[in-house]
């Protein structure tokens, strides 16, 4: 294995394994009760034992997050396109966009729960937090076009929609993908926060509810198992969006370029 590969893959993996061993050892040596701090092995065992409940909740949370993210992607990029085409619309909507963006989602969750059913409220919360980074990044990208290229399109008398399709949208793609990666992480956070605020139980309960529930029952190993699944969900979303970004940009954009050392 080359030194570079070792540093890149093996070292972080070893560090993680070492931390898990240290955790396991600390719990065993000091005989810490699971209700205070469960060992990694116990968390894993709990995850397997409770998989039926936790797995179902994972599906609920992931489905919700993805629905919100897809809605935010479509809504955010379409609104950015409208902003780019009609400056007036941008001027009109911008104050609303800023107000919605700077207000923490936790603070509006209770209000949404008053207006909407708990499932819909969670979806809207998740949507709102993912929506704004996608909107603002895409809007920035659509207006960050090489001025000489704009001149060139004007010189060849390109109609506006061609300029949008062939110039502004490809120019905005890296910005949009950046916004999507931020939005993907935030959609999960939004879904979790809203669900904790909603406290919805029963069939449609997501991972956040499992955490709250485990807290009430002092079932700490299960709480950790649910946390682990949330972390895995977050990592999966991040990796999937990074892969999408690489796939779309690696031929031409500097962000996806590997540098010769």
């Amino acid at each position: 294995m080359s030194r570079e590969k070792f540093l890149r893959y093996a070292l972080p993996a070893l560090a993680l394994i070492f931390a898990l061993f240290a955790w396991e050892a600390t719990v065993r040596i000091n005989d810490i009760q699971p209700v205070i701090l469960p060992s990694p092995s116990l968390i894993l065992a709990t995850l397997i034992k409770d998989w039926r409940t936790l797995g179902a909740s994972l599906v609920v949370t992931l489905t919700l997050t993805l629905e919100a993210l897809i809605a935010a992607t479509i809504g955010g990029s379409l609104l950015a396109l409208v902003f780019a085409q009609f400056k007036v619309v941008e001027r009109v909507f911008f104050p609303f966009a800023v107000i919605m963006q700077v207000t923490p989602v936790v603070s509006i969750a209770p209000l949404l729960l008053v207006y909407l059913s708990s499932g819909a409220a969670v979806l809207v919360c998740s949507f709102l937090v993912a929506f704004f980074p996608i909107l603002s990044n895409t809007a920035l990208g659509l207006s960050s076009v090489d001025h000489n290229l704009l001149d060139l399109f004007q010189l060849y008398r390109a109609p506006r929609y061609r300029q949008l399709l062939w110039l502004r949208i490809p120019s905005a793609l890296p910005y949009f993908l950046g916004g999507l990666r931020i939005g993907g992480g935030l959609a999960l956070i939004g879904a979790i926060v809203a669900e904790i605020a909603a406290g919805s139980a029963g069939q449609g309960a997501g991972l956040a509810f499992r955490i709250v529930e485990s807290g009430y029952r002092l079932n700490i190993p299960r709480m950790f198992a649910a946390l682990l699944l949330i972390a895995v969900a977050g990592i999966s979303i991040f990796l999937a969006l990074s892969a999408l970004s690489y796939f779309l940009l690696h031929r031409w954009h500097d962000s996806a370029r590997t540098r010769e050392q």
Partner: protein, 272 residues
């Protein structure tokens, strides 16, 4: 300003029957913020000539190109074209390529905007890429190319529509000396082969004398034309031309005109 020409063998008429392609009459350009970029510009662009606009920064030479290309409008005077809606080619100081598109698609752009499909445009694109020395590079992406090669793509794109006039805004200013010399020679060869009309903005005296049939020297604040210098040696020229007396003479004359243009209180005295 006319020079006797003892050293240069053939002295053709400036260019064979120089018919007018465009004429700027009393052209002025004042920007919205009140800056006077150009004032009282009278200039003729003749078919098939290599015309250089030379001057210090802020003298409005790029503005003339933008006016000719229709990217901005005159605020005084007018521009007369010999033909209606002439086909234009523009080369910017930067290569200005679309980074997400390969060489082929970049050159295709102006043709595509005219409604030519990829297949219909292919022969034209391959021909023009071969002309600029980039045959076989059509699949490369801009970031895989050197600065000089990107510039060649930019020139190919400008030539793809077979323009009546090629407008070039300091196209090689950012390139190294060796690349620039090579591109200059290739540009002139291409110009002769296509019998194209070129308007070339530069701030290099030597470049302008080596390349041009005619040099227009401009002065800043406000931008105006102060001198016109003819270089009669036929194009293309080679390295030997840089050693002949006419070259030295024209460089000296051009430098003097430029010097005068930049002198404080210069008022554009007759230099013609």
């Amino acid at each position: 300003m006319t020079f006797a020409n003892p050293d240069w063998k053939e002295t053709p008429a400036a260019s064979p029957s120089p018919s007018r392609l465009a004429r700027l009459e009393g052209v002025g350009k004042t920007f919205a913020n009140g800056t006077v970029a150009l004032t009282g510009v009278n200039l003729e662009v003749r078919r098939g000539e290599f015309l250089s606009l030379l001057g210090p920064s802020g003298c409005g030479k790029s503005t003339i190109l933008r006016l000719l290309s229709g990217l901005t409008k005159v605020t005084a005077g007018w521009i007369n074209w010999a033909e209606k809606d002439p086909e234009l080619g523009f080369v910017f100081q930067e290569p200005t390529l679309m980074p997400w598109a390969n060489v082929f698609d970049n050159v295709w752009l102006p043709l595509r905007l005219k409604g030519l499909s990829r297949a219909a445009a292919r022969p034209q694109i391959e021909e023009v890429l071969a002309k600029v020395g980039l045959a076989g590079f059509s699949k490369a992406y801009p970031r895989e190319l050197s600065g000089g090669m990107k510039m060649r793509v930019s020139i190919a794109r400008a030539l793809a529509t077979r323009p009546a006039i090629l407008l070039m805004d300091e196209p090689f200013a950012a390139l190294d000396e060796i690349t620039r010399t090579k591109l200059n020679d290739d540009l002139v060869a291409l110009k002769c082969e296509l019998d194209a009309t070129v308007v070339f903005v530069t701030h290099s005296v030597y470049e302008s004398v080596y390349l041009s049939d005619r040099i227009v020297v401009m002065a800043p604040r406000p931008g105006r034309i102060v001198a016109e210098i003819l270089v009669t040696a036929p194009l293309p020229r080679d390295e030997d031309y840089r050693l002949c007396a006419e070259y030295a003479e024209r460089c000296r004359a051009t430098s003097a005109a430029l010097h005068e243009a930049m002198a404080p209180g210069a008022n554009g005295s007759a230099h013609k």
